[in-house]
Assembly symmetry: D2
């Protein structure tokens, strides 16, 4: 006991804990410990930091490096054995919870034509962003959806879901995003396998798009009270067109150029309760200013190339690369091309952060709003 | 006094007023009247009917009859003199409040190329549905919109607004819908003329469509907390396409086939606080069943031809005709064509009815859900 | 036709209708009329006033004048014959709709010990404010409540309800408030008599108070999603105590001194969808400033004496007197006593006015915020 | 690398990962690791459990054991040195995050008459439950509150707050509850010290109770849009009285007897965004059935004595004892007295759990709803 320092976090600032270890105190701390207690002032400055310091490491996963390994998994394991054949992104600072950033899990799933994974549900929410291939589909609560490149799909908390690729299609790769680490952290993770292993499809294919995917229109008969979007698929073409229209109608945001959040058309809110998602357009030559905010963010490059500076380090990216911005990390995004636009897909934990009242943001005031970049 | 009957509404039903006039009571009633009071039982059965009986008369206004008179107004009065050059629909049962049905006003406004009405605001909410012409525009709070056939536009309560037709356009006619009678009934009608008579346009033309008109996407920078839609214009082409998609994805409603409500994308709710609007698709051969509900409804035929049976009377309609369904009137809609679809635009007072808890509906149980039609 | 003036509402103001009748126009107006239409500019200035002018007349009903007439009704009609034995307040400007002010009905109901009225429901919302007697009760959807002086009780839209006075009680008088005129105006009035004429009481007496009447506490098991308060009775003693506490904790409002709205504890909102209610405390010597706002208001003096100046006329009031403030009427309230406080109960149509976006208010700027009083 | 087992979590169930390590796979896993990735099937069954298994240990902290140690801290450290002089509850399963259960921190704070801690704010929400003493006060955003035994007080996220005991009072002990671990887990923890170290008090003492603490009444002038309750203090006496009234008006819940949630009177919702709180009454002889649900719960015995069975272990408790129920732990509460009632104060993370859609519950079906108790 005597060689443990309890005063490692002392700060000589009024209002902060500043208690030096003494023999009497050390004895006292030992008694407290035997009662399942401890003295707050020994940890207060540690557990109440002046501002957040994320455990996640800013990093990038480059598709040109990952792709062959993802494809190789097809020959190594079957979907039946693997459950889902996914290579997941393992942030060095979050390895213990299998997260890519913060409490967000992400992986690249690959399926060959004719393959189908079994149906299951979990209390994690999931989303997918389609990267390549042809013939992929997802079935959510009996609603089947076809999936094309850059389509965004949700499979919310508690819904039966399964994926596959049609015979005659091409090998497909998509990014999965889930809040598995968050569900585990909140000690609320449940999982169930479908009794028939596969769902019956009881609706026209892509019906959620036909019913809920119209601009400014709400179907009279389609009641909706679930806490997630009734629109399960957001297609790339109208999304990209919407961004171009938005850019023509409004001024660019200094940090994000033109960013649109995928939204629940029944409420105007986030698509799911724990994870939000967005697509943003960086116009040719756009060089955003730096800001930081709470929340964890995982980006995929949907179009174009450029770089982001995250906490002073530069990450160059091109199509299909994935990178993360941890909570309270400074970040700025740059489209390196003067002629072509770039698009960044992103998902995040903002719905949870906002619901808990934890969102805060700050603009970088110094240096014209640009971070100095480490060599 | 003695020759007034106070017992005209007697009903011999337990729980209803059933008091016969007597000399003593008549004297009593006279005393009450001198105190600014009266006996409830003399009017209870009148003011508490078993179910609503609308003062509005079901009727149709045929465009082929109205059009020439509307156009003739151009030569008779200037916009400057008229304020707005509008021929309004005057329901015989609602002439005292200048309503087309219930508490809803509607009229046909005509403007020639180069004409412009002055800017004003009122506590009434307004909407427009474009019928013919080219070059029309509306400016709402400095946001200018171009208007094409079958476009639907809102100018909400309290917003500055003005209309005109560009030089080089064609004579334009559109339908106005307002809740003027409702605002007056609620004793809440205010009106103001813009100090400059015209607004400065401070945004890209049609910017609300570029910013808010995308399916399932919400612009990050566009905060919105006003009690009306930030999307001011709903264009015909995507609306019609949405209805076709909806029809391909969901079963037809027995009364309305496929009906979509114009919606506030920021909330998923009605476009304004007092008036809602919808567009519905009647597939070829669709013959709806009869139902009735509270609320007042004014239809315009946006496409095709057919008929509606309203409280037992048949109203044949074709493009641009306008007809009304009063509160609690039985109604059924039929597309008379076996090959072409029909579309009905409609606006109503449902937001007010719903907010006050006054919505009720009933299906016709008899006769296979079809009304007998009067000769 | 020729002797009708269509230009009676002309205004010589830019942006307002200013069209003089001509023979050609008169002929045109006649043609329009035959088509069920009319020219907006002939009525525009009338139906779009610069500000509201209520049809209701500010007035007061004095209890010392009314009471004997109310009591006399007991000997004149039975509850069975009358349905409800009520003398209602008949505003001269609203006689056609049997309203006390705006679209609000009110009356004084009297019942003798042992009497009971039959159970019914209607789409009107109702409230009661108890004035005198002992042993009165109300049953709402099977929940029985005992009623004491100055208690406030709701019987919302669609609920079965009935009233009576226990054997061994005293003759009771209470004020009824209903939105019957509003329900009729919106053409949404339904009425039903209970098949058994009386409800079974299926809960402990006053259970809604026990379950929902606690400050800052919500019962875990009592789910609630109806659009009205689950708390059906608001008792006088805690209400008066709350006002005294409020007065000790916050500054007086310049117009209303200390006013608290009866609220739905499940939402913090109004008690019902169409009618709100409040109790306000005027401290000794309080002399409020004048303001005006939309909405119709009916006051009952719950305690003390004083006067109100409404659109320049002074109305002296004392306990149990009832007076109205029409929409957009200037009003100021004064407690005439320097030693005793005064309390005003009030009910109004604010929930409807607010939901429709029709609320506006204005302070009197001139004369130190006090109205000149007519001789 | 070769001696690491990647297949430790295999399950032989359709739909679950069941991949055996092979030399080829081990080599593959090594390659993935070098790319900052891993194979989902090696961890899937671990990170997606069939149901939650909390890291927190069910336990009890007995006040008769803790009290002397808490009091002793007064002589060991000053509030100035300690920041706050608190002995916190250190769950053995959550020692790394200093939590009493789940992500909830709690401690016992002691102050002597004349002592005052400095003012600060943090993005954690805090609450207090007063245990003993006299003269304690809290100041939140300039609003001062006096604190008596069993009073419940909130100091929400972002508010300046400070505590002290008046000269002439008695030594005070209260329980603090904070979401510090949750704020840290979400990487959203901020902290600030008040520039003057103490706030100016700008309102009458206990004004939030006077303004917002009335049953079924809402102050007209007190606007409120913050995401936490404007009522900062919930006093014991009206709370206990409310529970007795509730017990007289409604049937007992099989698990919780009569439980009321402290509520935000402006919304009817939880008092803060991350933490809720409740007080429950266990009638004499009440023996609750067992159920389990997600969320973390920390109880303090406010009155009486009894025991709880948590995941099969019995914890006897009496006044001021504190015990925890981890997520998804079976639990049942028993009042051991046949003559006196017992009250349990509880705070929890339900607002966060519910907002994220993670709430689930289950009743124990076997054994008459009672858990077998471990010897």
């Amino acid at each position: 006991m005597s060689n443990v320092a309890y005063d490692a976090y002392r700060e000589d600032v009024a209002g902060r804990a500043n208690v030096q270890d003494t023999p009497e105190l050390l004895e006292y701390y030992g008694e407290l410990e035997r009662l399942g207690t401890a003295a707050l002032w020994t940890v207060a400055n540690k557990i109440e930091p002046w501002q957040p310091k994320s455990q996640s490491v800013p990093m990038i996963w480059r598709y040109r490096e990952l792709r062959e390994h993802v494809l190789r998994s097809v020959s190594l394991v079957s979907p039946e054995k693997a459950g889902r054949r996914v290579i997941y992104l393992d942030n060095p600072g979050r390895r213990d919870v299998a997260a890519a950033v913060g409490w967000l899990y992400s992986g690249l799933q690959v399926m060959h034509p004719g393959e189908a994974a079994s149906a299951h549900w979990h209390s994690s929410s999931a989303l997918r962003f389609i990267m390549e291939g042809a013939g992929a589909y997802t079935i959510v609560n009996g609603h089947k959806m076809t999936l094309g490149a850059n389509d965004f799909v949700i499979t919310p908390n508690g819904c039966w879901h399964e994926h596959g690729v049609e015979e005659g299609g091409l090998p497909c790769i998509w990014q999965d995003g889930l809040d598995i680490p968050l569900a585990n952290a909140m000690e609320a993770g449940f999982f169930g396998v479908h009794p028939d292993l596969h769902q019956a499809v009881g609706h026209p294919v892509d019906d959620s798009v036909g019913i809920w995917g119209a601009p400014g229109l709400r179907p009279q008969d389609a009641r909706w009270s679930a806490p997630y979007s009734p629109l399960f698929k957001y297609q790339w073409e109208p999304t990209y067109e919407a961004l171009l229209n938005y850019a023509g109608a409004a001024e660019a945001n200094p940090y994000d150029c033109h960013l649109m959040n995928y939204t629940n058309p029944a409420t105007g809110g986030h698509v799911m309760s724990t994870m939000g998602a967005s697509m943003q357009l960086l116009l040719p030559g756009f060089a955003g200013k730096a800001h930081r905010h709470t929340g964890s963010f995982l980006y995929q490059v949907a179009k174009g190339s450029g770089y982001s500076i995250i906490d002073g380090r530069r990450f160059d990216w091109r199509e299909h690369d994935i990178f993360c911005v941890p909570s309270w990390a400074w970040h700025e995004h740059v489209n390196a091309s003067q002629t072509e636009d770039a698009c960044l897909f992103c998902f995040n934990d903002l719905p949870a952060i906002e619901a808990m009242g934890f969102y805060r943001e700050e603009a970088l005031a110094d240096n014209g709003g640009r971070q100095p970049v480490m060599a």
